[in-house]
Symmetry: C2
């Protein structure tokens, strides 16, 4: 059970972005240098963030990326969803409340995995980019 680096990088990059956002567009090159993430890889990630309307792009010299929403309205859920970082505990479909592994009954631990998924997603739903920026400012000293 681990977080992929795509999800982790996306959050790191957005926190970085949010800190400089209000002045100018932030170029991926800068984020790449500051966070130590490959520029090529960042481009893949931001392409998805853009499709999901989390950021806007500004082309040309002095261009870069800008947040497309209030940091308070960007939850971890949104970010992870954008880069296909999803929480998966079961293979059996949720909808089919019966018949998990081709069997007639629900698998005996089905409820458990559902609970777990909800538990994790709750965390993601409640945490916003705003929270992270605040927290970061405090810790920076």
């Amino acid at each position: 059970m681990k977080l992929t680096s795509k999800g982790r990088y996306a959050v790191m990059a957005l926190v970085d972005l949010a800190r400089f956002d209000n002045i100018n567009p932030v170029s991926l090159r800068d984020i790449s240098l500051r966070q130590g993430i490959s520029l090529d890889y960042l481009e893949q990630i931001f392409s998805k963030l853009k499709k999901n309307e989390i950021v806007k792009s500004i082309r040309g010299t002095q261009g870069g990326y800008v947040l497309n929403k209030n940091p308070n309205d960007i939850k971890l859920t949104n970010i992870f969803h954008a880069v296909d970082e999803k929480v998966k505990t079961v293979q059996c479909k949720k909808e089919s409340k019966r018949g998990c592994n081709g069997k007639a009954t629900k698998c005996i631990t089905h409820n458990l995995w559902d609970e777990l998924e909800i538990h994790i997603n709750t965390f993601f739903d409640n945490k916003s980019l705003e929270d992270l920026i605040k927290n970061n400012k405090e810790t920076r000293v």
Copy 2:
């Protein structure tokens, strides 16, 4: 972020085992049939569960596996730990509170990942095999 089938199977098998345990040792063959898990794979899993003293083995005809502890003392944490299903959110070492990616400072989202790990592990620490058996009995009707 997903649960591996090794962890899932381990829990499923143990719940199954716990339900028949008090009468006789339960053979992997039976569990395999009931839960639809490959016998060979189950053997790998139970070998680890045994090393971690979660189950005991009884060889020979009519042999099988038996719980080695009270179901209430077997937490999900123990099971997952036994089969190497660990929660991993960061690569940077926890101990090195500074210098995450070869940088001088902690990575800006370090605290977040720590929080997340704790959040998930809390769930695992609190859930025991006993809870799952109860839950299962209730749902069976």
